[in-house]
């Protein structure tokens, strides 16, 4: 097994242990990505964030969050397997910061709320529900996950009731967006690339990030990079941006912002003189 996949497997086991020990429902979908990875991807990261929120929720209710030292034994056993993986150099090697390579993009994944949740993957198996979360007019932006809250315990609701509730209460879902338009965002990026940006750097880039309900961007990661310098500069620029958050418009007219995990594709054309 490739090293990234092995790392992914171990991290997944740690997440499972944390969930099990704290009575958190977590169904981890089998990863279908064929190539090697860096041990994590936006999907894995979303699961970690979900666990963090659930643990916080437990603590708010006065329950203990059991995490410390939970997976020490697991890692000890796994390290033997990993140590047998060949490295190109046995001394410490510092790979680039960001993930590279294709990451499977999953439409309509729902990672659930700080208050009530049900199995994210359950939703994927329910096309009638997934279809409700459609974001029209997206070109280079993919929605790979989002967090929604419901004013009732969805764990005790059947899927039909939930679907009906969403249908009855929803005027529309609106994707997060850069407030001045996509072309302005591209202009902002190109104008603010540092003086040292390599003018010869060209190619496609994919930036993963979460648009928080307050419009701030978090968890910024270059999942497909062009080169180290350009990747770092673009990631830094995303930190400065503020977006309009994703909105759930209720029939009452109230618009509820929610966190949305996105992947933005960027293209850097070759510059010819």
């Amino acid at each position: 097994m490739a090293k990234g996949k092995q790392t992914c497997k171990i991290l997944k086991e740690i997440r499972k242990q944390i969930a099990a020990e704290n009575d958190i429902k977590l169904v981890i979908e089998e990863c279908t990505y064929q190539g090697d990875c860096r041990g994590t991807c936006p999907k894995c990261e979303a699961e970690v964030r979900y666990l963090e929120r659930e643990l916080e929720r437990r603590q708010r209710k006065g329950k203990a969050a059991v995490v410390a030292g939970l997976s020490v034994g697991l890692l000890g056993a796994s390290q033997v397997a990993l140590a047998q993986q060949p490295d190109t150099i046995t001394s410490p090697n510092y790979p680039e910061r960001s993930l590279r390579g294709e990451v499977p993009i999953m439409m309509g994944k729902v990672a659930f709320s700080p208050f009530y949740h049900f199995e994210p993957m359950e939703l994927l198996a329910k096309p009638e529900l997934v279809d409700l979360f459609s974001f029209p007019d997206l070109k280079d932006l993919s929605i790979v996950g989002f967090d929604l809250e419901f004013p009732f315990d969805v764990t005790s609701s059947d899927i039909t009731s939930l679907t009906d509730y969403i249908k009855e209460n929803t005027k529309g879902f609106y994707a997060p967006n850069y407030p001045y338009g996509e072309s302005s965002m591209l202009e902002f990026i190109s104008q603010n690339l540092g003086k040292n940006a390599d003018g010869n750097a060209y190619g496609d880039m994919e930036v993963a990030f979460t648009v928080e309900p307050n419009g701030k961007l978090s968890h910024i990661d270059i999942i497909k990079g062009v080169n180290e310098q350009l990747d770092a500069q673009v990631a830094a620029l995303f930190k400065f941006m503020e977006w309009k958050p994703a909105l759930w418009e209720l029939n009452s007219g109230e618009k509820i912002p929610f966190a949305c995990q996105c992947v933005q594709k960027l293209h850097f054309p070759m510059i010819t003189h």
């Binding site: 790392t7 171990i10 991290l11 740690i14 997440r15 242990q17 944390i18 860096r38 041990g39 994590t40 990261e45 970690v48 666990l51 963090e52 643990l55 995490v67 410390a68 030292g69 939970l70 997976s71 020490v72 697991l74 890692l75 796994s78 390290q79 990993l82 140590a83 190109t88 150099i89 046995t90 001394s91 410490p92 090697n93 510092y94 790979p95 680039e96 910061r97 968890h219 770092a232 830094a236």
Partner: protein, 202 residues
């Protein structure tokens, strides 16, 4: 405000930098000039991205759950992390006591730096290169007098189990016999944990 340049951050390291899941933070700046340095760009004072302890904490805490579940944390490498005394002390204040903080160091720094930083560190990975002063000088461009004094102090003040000493086979600089001699001497000093390996020149 304390700032430091970081030339790389590598997450989810499971076997190379101590116990548990670790994130390696590689600092700019090093007193040595090792011939096969993997990160020679750290010699350029302008190389890397500037961080404060707070911004580094914000970036690394993304893996807090993994750190806590596996008794892992952040390993500071470089470059030479023991040059960043104030930064790492402040980082410890931010991250609290549950993260394991490990320094991967040549120990070729002033004793003051080591002594000041020691209370906030949980462990050391000491890159000893070679115990033979001539080999050390030829490979790194510096002598190893301070290294030996610092290591001796560490072994007297810390549990040897929290000190891993890396002993590399360095092509064209030392032989298998030199490495064996280094290890014998280190065992005599009280070192119990070794990482013996070979540099592969690409």
């Amino acid at each position: 405000m304390v700032k430091a340049r970081v030339i790389g951050i590598s997450r989810h390291r499971l076997t190379t930098d101590g116990d548990g899941v670790t994130t390696l933070v590689a600092f700019n700046g090093c007193p040595l000039r090792c011939k096969y340095c993997l990160n020679s760009h750290c010699w350029d004072p302008e190389s890397g991205k500037e961080y404060t302890p707070e911004t580094l904490y914000e970036e690394t805490k993304i893996d807090q759950l993994y750190f806590l579940a596996t008794h892992g944390g952040v390993t500071f490498g470089g470059g030479e992390p023991l040059l960043q005394v104030d930064f790492i002390k402040e980082f410890r204040e931010r991250c609290g006591t549950q993260w394991q903080l490990v320094a991967e160091s040549s120990l070729n720094v002033s004793f003051e730096n080591l002594k000041t930083l020691d209370p906030v560190l949980d462990g050391y990975i000491v890159d000893i290169k070679d115990m033979n002063p001539e080999i050390y000088q030829a490979y790194t461009g510096k002598d190893n007098v301070v290294v030996l004094k610092n290591l001796e102090w560490l072994l007297q003040h810390r549990d040897p189990n929290c000190i891993m000493v890396r002993v590399p086979h360095i092509p064209d600089f030392n032989t298998d016999e030199d490495v064996a001699n280094s290890m014998e001497r280190l065992k005599g000093m009280g070192v119990t944990k070794f990482d013996e390996f070979k540099y592969i020149i690409r």
